[in-house]
Structure formats: C-alpha cells, structure tokens
C-alpha cells in the first residue's frame, strides 16, 4: 500500500514541473556556491535538505485538509500509520534525490570528497531528515492549513542552520557534534509525540 501512495505523491509533484526544475537548479547552485566559497561542506546538506523537506511534509495532512480530500482518504482501507509513514518516506526520498544532485555536481566540479563527507551525506543527513520529517508530518496532522504548519515549524527549520554556523565559526568536528545533538533532540521529540496514536476523528473534525 505504501507504493500506491508513493506513486500518487510522485504523480502530484510531477505535475508541478516548475517546482522540480527550481529544486534541481537550486541544488546545482548550492553545490557550486558552497564548494567555491567554503570548500568541502557536508553540513550545508542538513540545512539545505531540511528546507526542502519542510515544504513537502507540511502539505501532507494539512494539504489534504485544504483540498478537502482527507475524509475520503480515511474511508479507504488504509491504516492511518501507513499514510503517515508513506508521507515521511516520500519526503525523505525526494530530498535524498536532491542531495544526489548536489553530490554529483560537486564531483563534476572536481571536488575530492572525504570519507567524512560520505558518512555525513549517507548516514547523518538521512537520519536527521527522518526525524525532522516525522516531526513535520506531526505538525501537519495537528494544523488545519499549510500556512499554520509553516508558522509552527519555522523555529525547527532555523535550528538546522546551527551546525553550518558552527562549522564556519569553529571547526567541522564541533559542527558534527552539533548536528548529532540536534538529531538526538529531534529523535526524543518524535518518540514522545508518537506514543499518542493518530485518530481519524481528530482529522475530520
């Protein structure tokens, strides 16, 4: 069932050609800009992926509420948890694709990437993204429209620039520590939120 949902989400964003195009251009631009200006900067990735993920996950439940499709969706033989996890999976995959564009651009630009970079790109960033997307989907579940989700989540998104700032101001090891701490906090939030079960009644009233 996840696949069916993912397929639909993909169809929906494919209709927005311009969004995809901007995402692509932005990824290439960010890669070149950060590389030329700061050299190897794995931790930019966190902030950059998070800002993309924010827009996809914000739409998950609040978007369906705005489009007035949520009630019909809930009448289908789908578990609410399936819908939640499909949304998270989707946002993470799209951001991961954007990250790949970033990475490939760096390689084309002739950057020599260290093991440290790969570890960050393939482990730390996806882990952070998962935790972040879960939180965002939860915000979206609680809010009645997309604007509200963005308002609620703005501080969370801004926190993700801390590792980048630390990286520029101190050292990349301090930044790494920062990113890990951020992930830890998010993970704890997710755990406490998701003990409560999702309810259909809450979504349609």
């Amino acid at each position: 069932m996840h696949l069916v949902l993912l397929q639909r989400y993909l169809r929906e964003i494919c209709k927005k050609k311009s969004t995809l195009f901007y995402m692509f251009c932005f990824s290439v631009f960010m890669a070149l800009f950060t590389y030329i200006k700061y050299g190897e900067t794995a931790l930019w990735l966190i902030w950059y992926c998070v800002s993309f993920a924010a827009s996809f996950t914000a739409e998950s439940f609040a978007g369906e509420k705005e489009e007035r499709t949520i009630e019909t969706l809930l009448t289908l033989p789908l578990d609410l948890r399936t819908i939640v996890s499909a949304r998270v999976l989707f946002a993470v995959s799209v951001c991961f694709a954007a990250e790949m564009v970033y990475l490939i651009t760096l390689l084309f630009a002739g950057a020599e990437l260290s093991a440290y970079f790969f570890a960050a790109a393939f482990l730390l960033v996806p882990a952070c993204l998962f935790a972040f997307c879960y939180l965002m989907v939860y915000f979206s579940y609680r809010s009645s429209n997309v604007r509200m989700v963005h308002m609620k989540s703005a501080p969370l998104v801004i926190f993700h620039i801390i590792p980048v700032v630390v990286c520029l101001a101190l050292s990349s090891y301090a930044a790494l520590f920062c990113a890990l701490a951020l992930f830890g906090i998010e993970f704890l939030c997710v755990r406490s939120r998701f003990k409560k079960v999702f309810s259909a009644e809450f979504l349609i009233s």
Partner: protein, 285 residues
C-alpha cells in the same frame, strides 16, 4: 434475518451536542435505505460511525458482524461517497480512479474495464485524461460516484449523492444503484433531501431527528399504510369531501349517493402516498 449493519443504542457526543442519541438502525443485505433528516440531524455522523471513523461513546455497532473500529478490512468491502468529492485536483480523472482502484486492490484488467463501463454510462469518456481541476461540480460528483462503485463493494454509503447532478445522470445513477442491489445484493445507505428519489429507489426509510430515529419502516409497508389513506371528492361549487378510505366499492357508493343527492362532482382523486407529508409531520413533532 441477515443484517449488513446493526446499530444499537448508539450515543455519540461532541462537547455538549448529542450528535447521536440512542440510535437504532439495521440494514439488510440488498436493501436500499434512505436516510432523511434536517441539516444537523446526524446523518453524516451515522455514516462516519459505521466506518469506524468516529468512536461511539456507548452502544454497539456491527458491520458485516464485526466492529468497524478495530477492523479496517471492512472498508475494503465498502464504497463511500462523502459530501466532498475527495478527488485530487492536479491529477486527471483516470489517474484519480486508478489510485483508488489500487487502494482497493483491483487488478489492472478489472479496473480498466469497470472505469470504461462507468465513463460510458455517465457519458464522460472524453474527459478521461483531463485534470479534475477544471471540472464542474456535477462532473466531479460523477467521477466520485464511479470511484465509489467501481470495486463492486458489498456496502455503499452515499452522502447526498445527487446534489449537483443533472436529471439524466440522476436517472442513470438510480438505474445503476437498483441493478447492483438486485443483482449483486449490494446494500446502500443514501442520505438525501430529495424525497422523490427516496420514493423511487429506496426499499426502506429512516427519518432522523436530533440523533434519534423517529421512523424506520419498509417503504412498501409505509406506502400501503399511507396509500390506504384518503380519497378526495370535489364538487363544481368548490365543496370537498374527504373519505378516509380508498376502497373502490366504498368510494363508488359514496359518489353514487352524492350524485343522487344532487351534487355536481367534477373530480374524485385518490391521494397518493405522500412522503413529504409524513416527513413534515414527523419532523415537526
């Protein structure tokens, strides 16, 4: 008697409003139940409770003999049309239907055939690959009806299905509903404000007021009950005589006596079963 749906003393409270207040309702296999009631009577709440989307505060709900709160597989055998059409605007009509067909675990051959059949029925085959965004309300409703019926569900819940539909499509829709009920034994619950629709297709009616069921009857019995009601004889001078019977012999006798008595009769009519009157009289109480 085999019931598809049994609701017993169901109570559902929102803050300080009782949306359902000790409601009893049964639906048989192959039955078409018309749910009538004012706005805010609790019709939509009944449908949501049947689906397990609302948890009742007390009382018992059984759908196919199971509790819908804990068993979402029931929803696979159910087709639901909500007040909103529930379609994804950016996708085309066909993409929308395919998404729902896949969620209902239909195979590609099956859903393609079913979709084409229904599109033909509602004469919207030419719109198949257009995005739903530009559709009129009626077109969206038709698409949503197709979505509700295409997987051959055992139970269909329709919340005001004929709003915004044109008369020809309403007729087509009624035909399809009656055919499914007769041939496949599909049960329907239809909420509507259109009393003619109820008279035409429903086998049972329930009148809901403030979360209670005021009246729950087989429509055939109701018709007999109220058809037997009266014959009105009208004279040229405007006098009206109402006989509380439709027995032909009694009516003939009355007319003969009136004519012999010198009355000029210009019309004698049997009052048709009047659902509207029944509805108004019950709803007013």
């Amino acid at each position: 008697m085999e019931y598809m749906i049994e609701m017993k003393d169901v109570v559902k409270k929102f803050k300080n409003v009782y949306a359902l207040d000790g409601l009893n309702l049964n639906v048989e296999k192959g039955g078409i139940l018309g749910l009538l009631g004012h706005n805010g009577a609790g019709k939509t709440t009944i449908l949501r409770t049947i689906l397990g989307l609302y948890k009742p505060d007390s009382g018992d709900v059984r759908v196919f003999g199971k509790n819908p709160e804990y068993d979402i597989s029931l929803r696979g055998r159910t087709g639901v049309l909500c007040e909103d059409s529930g379609l994804y605007e950016s996708l085309t009509l066909y993409e929308n239907l395919v998404f729902f067909a896949k969620v209902y675990r239909m195979k590609k051959e099956d859903y393609d055939a079913r979709i084409d059949y229904f599109l033909e029925e509602f004469s919207i085959s030419d719109k198949k690959n257009l995005p739903v965004k530009g559709f009129s309300a009626g077109m969206k409703k038709k698409t949503a009806i197709i979505r509700t019926l295409m997987h051959n569900p055992d139970l269909v819940l329709l919340d005001e299905p004929t709003n915004a539909l044109d008369p020809v499509s309403i007729d087509k829709f009624h035909g399809i509903v009656q055919k499914m009920s007769r041939e496949d034994g599909t049960s329907f619950i239809i909420t509507t404000h259109n009393l003619d629709e109820v008279k035409k297709i429903c086998s049972d009616i329930s009148i809901i007021k403030q979360g209670k069921c005021l009246y729950n009857q087989n429509l055939k019995d109701t018709r007999e009950l109220y058809d037997m009601f009266e014959t009105v004889i009208e004279c040229v001078d405007g006098n009206k005589i109402t006989l509380k019977t439709t027995d032909p012999k009694a009516v003939a006798k009355a007319i003969r006596e009136l004519v012999e008595g010198g009355a000029d009769i210009c019309e004698a009519r049997r009052n048709e079963f009047d659902l509207e009157k029944l509805y108004l009289s019950l709803a007013k109480e």
